[in-house]
Symmetry: C2
Subunit: 193 residues, 2 copies
């Protein structure tokens, strides 16, 4: 089968199983291109997510630590969060989340890419922004449900932790490497090849 | 607040909302360390997922293309899938999935890391394996619901696509970079810094 032979599925019988402000679970009856039936096929609708790889004036990455209940672990992550319904631009969300979660304001803020948290199940996108020259502006402004510790981390240390599997959020590892490649260049090879 | 001040949430009132062989959705009432109540807090239980960064004898990465219904796009990904209930070792799952989805058998297969697809919502882990010397063994053995095109890709091209946001599965981008760092070394800096 060639690349161009891949086709979308056809769907019917949509139903909403869970509807909350943070997540909606839907099911559909899906028929694949070879005629296989998937019923129910579950789909997760979330708002768009926006995360920021923010470098401060000492070239440290502003990471955040927080308890994550799915993994039941403290997780070291990029700051960020959901786009509010009133926000149409990921840059607005990213600047807001950076300020709320780290207390910092960036000098430059650029949109790098929109990926998917999981293209099989998730209909939303996850955006990565690159921020430079981040300066402390004020205390954190956390939701009542957020307990966050800001962790300014020399970026080469962050790379080492990511490669070692110590940053457990696989999506954030991917987003971080996209931002690092853009901000710092990226080369492979142990002997300068 | 210091890093050591982060605490797990307490939970009660667990209930199962959806239960299928592929996914279970649960809800709990959660109380954060500052006493904020999250009810319902949704949790997704999946089996463990295992993905393989497999290099063939020409040092190409064996990637796979398939239609992904959440994103409604063709997605370029690492081969892999769910651990079967009968499998206790991610290496067994990885070797099986590599053979089923690419028709290849590896000379070496190593477990690199276990991350989380999303530590906030997902209780399962996602494993990354590194395979080398992969050789074609047989035709693909796809589930009836899978339509997959194998895409052997020079690994430097895969890096360029990942950095450009053309590999949309954010988790797989993270897993791929962990594997590339291990297999090929990884350096930053545009001018040999």
């Amino acid at each position: 089968m060639s690349k161009n032979a891949l086709r979308r599925w056809t769907t019917d019988s949509p139903r909403v199983l869970v509807d909350s402000p943070w997540m909606r679970l839907r099911a559909e009856r899906c028929v694949t291109q070879r005629g296989a039936v998937l019923d129910p096929f579950y789909l997760l609708d979330y708002p768009e997510w926006v995360h920021v790889a923010a470098f401060d004036e000492e070239d440290r990455l502003l990471l955040v630590r927080q308890y994550r209940h799915g993994a039941r672990q403290i997780s070291l992550e990029l700051p960020g969060g959901m786009m509010d319904p009133s926000e149409n631009d990921p840059l607005v969300t990213g600047a807001r989340e950076l300020l709320e979660e780290t207390g910092h304001v960036a000098t430059t803020l650029a949109h790098l890419a929109r990926l998917s948290p999981n293209p099989s199940s998730h209909t939303n996108g996850v955006h990565i922004l690159l921020a430079t020259g981040a300066r402390p502006r004020r205390e954190l402004d956390l939701d009542a449900t957020e307990d966050i510790v800001v962790a300014p981390t020399p970026w080469r240390e962050a790379v080492e932790m990511a490669i070692a599997g110590e940053m457990i959020h696989a999506q954030h590892v991917g987003l971080l490497f996209i931002a690092l490649a853009r901000a710092k260049g990226l080369k492979f090879g142990r002997t300068g090849e």
